[in-house]
């Protein structure tokens, strides 16, 4: 794993350059409107590195989920909404003509705030994506399901009950199942919108461990309401307010020595 060095002086300049080196997601002058009166994102310029955890923090309603949903075009579903500027993934404009949405959403998977397993068995939940994508070789599917459940740290608990309904799992297990379901699609980027916000502290801890494991192989972008969580698991943190990106920095700097007064005010008021 590559460690991005941060020196005392010039830390921002330094790591902006390092970030650029393995940039996976970039936004350019991104604006998003739910309707003409609801301007949810304002001129967001951001560069997110690969195989790292990047956290979005900020008060409720500041646009974290909206920004996350721009990365796999989830917002497209909303009538009347529109976007200006560009979102590039691996240097390709994902809003350009000719982009195939199914492909994009396979590559950029998403885990939601509320776990939403399908009302079918555990096994079928995870096998769902590969099957829909045309995989029919039973052996291959078995392998994918096992590997996905292992990565989501759910294999041990479920390997003897794969045919039971996913709805019988506990809340924390359901959320890890949703992570496994996403992983079965072999994504490169995983978006997580407050994945632990409905879970108890123990399940939250497990999800956090899973995330830290996953970043070896995936780029993870996570919205979190909990600043300690951002501090614990992320490499980079973006602080937003009222639709604007106030500061993007490596997590340690952002929490110990932020560049912006607004960041400082927010984290000192809210930390703890």
């Amino acid at each position: 794993m590559e460690i991005i060095p941060v020196t005392e002086k010039n830390s921002l300049e330094q790591d902006n350059r390092s970030v650029k080196r393995n940039e996976v997601v970039r936004t350019e002058n991104l604006d998003f409107f739910y309707n003409p009166e609801s301007h949810a994102l304002k001129n967001i310029n951001l560069s997110i590195p690969g195989k790292k955890v990047t956290a979005f923090i900020g008060p409720s309603g500041c646009g974290k989920s909206t920004l996350l949903r721009c990365f796999n075009r989830m917002n497209d579903l909303l009538p009347g909404s529109y976007l200006k500027g560009r979102v590039l993934i691996d240097n390709k404009d994902i809003y350009a003509n000719g982009i195939r949405l199914e492909e994009l959403r396979k590559k950029v998977g998403m885990v939601f705030q509320k776990s939403n397993p399908f009302p079918m068995s555990i096994w079928e939940n995870v096998a769902f994506g590969p099957r829909v994508n045309g995989e029919s070789d039973k052996h291959t599917i078995e392998e994918v399901v096992k590997s996905a459940l292992e990565q989501a740290d759910l294999w041990k608990e479920t390997k003897d009950r794969l045919n039971e309904s996913a709805l019988d799992l506990s809340g924390g297990q359901q959320q890890r199942l949703c992570i496994a379901r996403t992983l079965a699609n072999k994504p490169e980027i995983i978006l997580m919108d407050e994945p632990a916000s409905a879970l108890d502290p123990i399940s939250t801890g497990k999800i956090e461990e899973t995330i830290i494991e996953l970043k070896k192989n995936y780029t993870i972008i996570i919205v979190t309401h909990n600043m300690q969580q951002a501090a614990r698991i992320s490499d980079f943190t973006a602080f937003m307010m009222l639709g604007e990106m106030i500061e993007f920095n490596d997590t340690k700097t952002l929490f110990t020595n932020p560049n912006e007064n607004l960041t400082e005010e927010y984290i000192t008021g809210r930390f703890g």
């Binding site: 309707n35 003409p36 009166e37 609801s38 409720s60 309603g61 407050e194 409905a198 809210r270």
Partner: protein, 219 residues
């Protein structure tokens, strides 16, 4: 005219989100004040509640203005009615933060009960419900609202168990009776916060689907 109207609605929605953030923050702080026995923080919470009350009054005025001048209908009317209720629930949640803070000031820090750690645990459950309810409102997500309603039973059970455990402690050690009473009062506020969060979620479901699910008539 239509544009102005929606601009006005968006503005009120922003105010409600702003109020939600203030209230969420104050509740978090009140639990922290309890855990760390921080009287100074408790006093600040009581003081900050004045801002919450002011915001609530402003929002109510705006909604009343909207009702009087624009006569909203259908989804906009439901947003107005649901929003007014939510505004009220948020203010009441704010009052519970004050109750907790006042109680913290009265607690005798020398006499800790064995059930002390249950309070932040209960607090976390209540805060999660509040946070998710607010999120359901922001996204107008009825499904998320339903999930919050389901969480309420867990809070009630935990609260009941907590009261029983605390009574047991007090029975064995009469010296702890005063603090035991304070603990229960704080837990009661947290349990009420979960109820108000459930109300907010129900309001969101109403705004979105025009279904009234209060009192669980059709379950």
């Amino acid at each position: 005219m239509k544009e102005k109207f929606h601009e006005y609605l968006e503005n009120i929605k922003k105010d409600l989100i702003f109020l939600s953030n203030q209230v969420e923050h104050n509740i978090h702080q009140s639990i922290k004040a309890f855990v760390t026995n921080d009287e100074k923080l408790a006093k600040k919470i009581i003081d900050d509640d004045k801002k919450i009350d002011r915001t609530e009054v402003e929002i109510e005025d705006k909604f009343l203005g909207l009702l009087a001048m624009q006569q909203p209908v259908a989804v906009d009317l439901r947003f107005t009615v649901g929003g007014l209720k939510m505004n009220n629930d948020l203010e009441r949640i704010g009052d519970h933060a004050v109750t907790i803070a006042r109680t913290v000031i009265n607690i005798d820090a020398g006499k800790i009960l064995e059930t002390k750690d249950d309070i932040p645990a209960l607090g976390e459950m209540a805060c999660k419900m509040l946070h998710l309810a607010v999120n359901a409102f922001i996204h107008q997500d009825a499904e998320l609202g339903r999930q919050v309603c389901k969480m309420d039973n867990e809070v009630d059970d935990f609260y009941d168990g907590f009261v029983k455990r605390t009574i047991e402690v007090c029975k064995k050690d009469r010296d702890k009776l005063d603090n035991g009473f304070h603990y229960v009062r704080i837990a009661r506020s947290l349990e009420r916060i979960a109820d108000h969060s459930t109300n907010i979620s129900e309001d969101v479901i109403f705004m979105k689907e025009a279904k009234i699910i209060r009192h669980h008539f059709q379950e």
